[in-house]
Amino acid sequence: MITPDHPTRRTILRGAGLGAAAFAVPALSAALAGCDKPDEGGSGGSGGGTVTFGSNYSDEVPKKAIAEVLAKSGQDVKINTVDHNTFQENITRYLQATPDDVFTWFAGYRMQFFAAQGFATDISDVWTEIGADFSDAMKAASTGEDGKQYFVPFYYYPWAVFYRKSVFESKGYQIPKTWDEYKALAAKMKADGLTPIALGNKDGWPAMGTFDYINMRLNGYDFHVSLMAGKESWEDPKVKQVFSLWQEILPYCQSGANGRTWQEAAQSLVAKQTGMYVLGMFVGQQFPASDAADLDYFPFPQIAEEHGQDSVEAPIDGFMVSAKAKNVDGAKKLVKYLASPEAQNLYAKGDPNNVATNKRADTSGYSALQKKAAELVGSAKHISQFLDRDTRPDFASTVMIPSLQSFLNNPKDVDGLVKQIEGQKKTIFTS
């Protein structure tokens, strides 16, 4: 039978179905699993009772790690885990329907967007207690447009240029400090038969890291922020300059990036086919345990002297209390616990690809990589959150992903590209 409106009906049902299925099933299983919580009734007093916890920690390692952390909270916590991407895609419907008391989310613009829509509970009072444990940059990343805090940072993972120590040692490569040194090193690697820079952009977001870094090194953090907020023109020569610098290193990057997943690109680094890789610290997940100690990184090289290497791209993950929370006191108590060094130490042990946000968190158990990450971020003047977290989600997903992919396919036509981006940006930011 013919159904003339097939796509329409399909789409709407899919949206509803996904939302329902994604949240109903885990909720049910969590409800069943919740019966055997060990710490039941252990808390008492104010903030007692069950707290529901909407989690996007769906991968095995983080899922286990967060469960261990929550088990020691002294509160009765019901965890509803949802697949990471599904959680993100359904966030609007989730927050409008029946969200959990506490839910996992991202710092920066992504948080501010939902706080401004009235989906989050103001937790400034929690911050008066925990504020001393966090750097100013962390607090700024947790603050909404109205100056109140809506977010508790849990961990972060810096982006940098990753490499294998053994490769650098055997070939006598030096860590490049500047753009020119970076290019010179890439040329040397190429001459040595390596593909200098790994690149996998099939999912559309990994290349954003390179764009962000070139932009922040060339034009500075403030320009990055206002460009992402839609306040600058993409046809500005400053933006074109970013793309033309990128063109300079493209011959050294793995070709066919749009067909390669970030995991495949990481495998090429593991296999010593490529020399360097601009990615987040989660690249470590792709390294077998025996090679983990061989993984190292250096900060993205300096381009403009006045900006040096003062910005670090380090997306922060954390928690928010939903506006519809049933147990607000319990939720605040839980996020306060999650902000504590104890909770963060516990998590860092279970999932060593991240770094705790709390200044007092114990770093003695850290791997060399984690220690270095903590230093890098601690000394940074600015912490950016990554392109798709620093701007509107609709702009990032429907404009920037296709645009950067088309840049990698056809790097020559920068003028046409930025014109298209600017045209779409205008309609999106004014809607």
Binding site: R260, P402, N409
Partner: protein, 308 residues
């Protein structure tokens, strides 16, 4: 028509009396049997369709107030949304490929298998197998086959130094995917035609043979016209499959970078975190209009033939 308990008037014919004699229970049953489908139809098909059309003239992020914007969405789609025209083109290429290559191939296999060749059960199963594979599996297979660095196709071709980027190169990835899609579609079409061929009266073929027709003539002049009901069904299925194509490209690379399709653009804008619901609805309406062109043509054809 009303129900009445009055004794029938003498003038009424027996036929009419029979019509009047609906008991309240009959009415309730009819009302229920017709009413439920109508309610479902309105609630699940017409309601959302009209809602989409209405939303397509607005700007809405799913949270704040709905703001009417007139034809802005449509204007932006055609002039300020680079993925749109490629998506339209890809849908049409998809339709042409299924209609011109995959469907005839399915028919060809069906005819061969209908000849009771040896191992026909095995071939039948092998060709039909892809139809039952889930989209996740197909996406996974695509990755295994087409991956530039680790894929089976490049390994088989010996292209390890300068590998072909089957999925990442936007000038060829549509064709890579269409091969997979065709692989699935052929099995589906074959099964339907096989059923149709079994239903064709063998005496027709015998009669044609007695009249001196060769095999090709028998097929094109006698058997194929006798398959008309199946042909129409398959035409409809082919059009629907081409216009609703979604799962394979979404599983492979979320329908980006050369694999844009209208259905994917709708999903990207509405379902994802983006929530450009008005904009996505406008694309949905455009897809609806394209579907209507095919459906109206088809219905006109059917009505004309029925009348003749």
């Amino acid at each position: 028509m009303t129900i009445t308990a009055r004794p029938p008037a003498p003038r009424t014919t027996p036929r009419r009396r029979r019509v009047i004699r609906f008991t309240p229970r009959d009415i309730a049953v009819i009302g229920l049997l017709l009413g439920i489908p109508v309610v479902l139809d309105v609630a699940l098909i017409w309601g959302p369709t009209l809602a989409s059309v209405a939303l397509s003239f607005t700007s809405w992020n799913g949270v704040t107030d709905i703001k009417p914007v007139g034809l802005d969405n449509y204007h932006n789609i055609v002039s300020n949304y680079p993925p749109f025209w490629p998506a339209v083109r890809h849908n049409l290429v998809w339709l042409l490929f299924l209609g011109v290559v995959a469907t005839p191939l399915g028919l060809f296999f069906a005819v061969l298998l209908d000849k009771q060749i040896r191992f026909s059960r095995f071939y039948q199963t092998a060709i039909y197998l892809p139809v039952v594979l889930s989209l996740a599996v197909i996406g996974f297979i695509a990755q295994l086959l087409y991956s530039r660095d680790y894929g089976a196709v490049n390994a088989a071709l010996g292209r390890t130094d300068n590998p072909i980027d089957w999925i990442g190169d936007p000038s060829i990835n549509l064709w890579s995917v269409l091969v997979l899609v065709g692989w699935r579609h052929v099995g589906y079409v074959m099964l339907l035609y096989l059923a149709g061929l079994k239903a064709v009266d063998p005496s027709l073929k015998e009669a044609a043979a007695i009249d001196g027709a060769n095999e090709a003539q028998t097929f094109f002049r006698v058997v194929f016209p006798a398959l008309r009901p199946v042909n129409i069904l398959i035409l409809v299925i082919t059009v629907i499959e081409a216009l609703r194509a979604f799962d394979v490209v979404y599983a492979i690379n979320r329908g980006r970078n050369g694999l844009e399709l209208l259905s994917v653009l709708i999903t990207d804008n509405i379902v994802g975190e983006a929530s450009r619901i008005g904009f996505g609805s406008a694309i949905a309406v455009i897809l609806l209009l394209i579907s209507l062109i095919f459906i109206v043509t088809y219905l006109l054809q059917v009505f004309r033939e029925d009348r003749a």
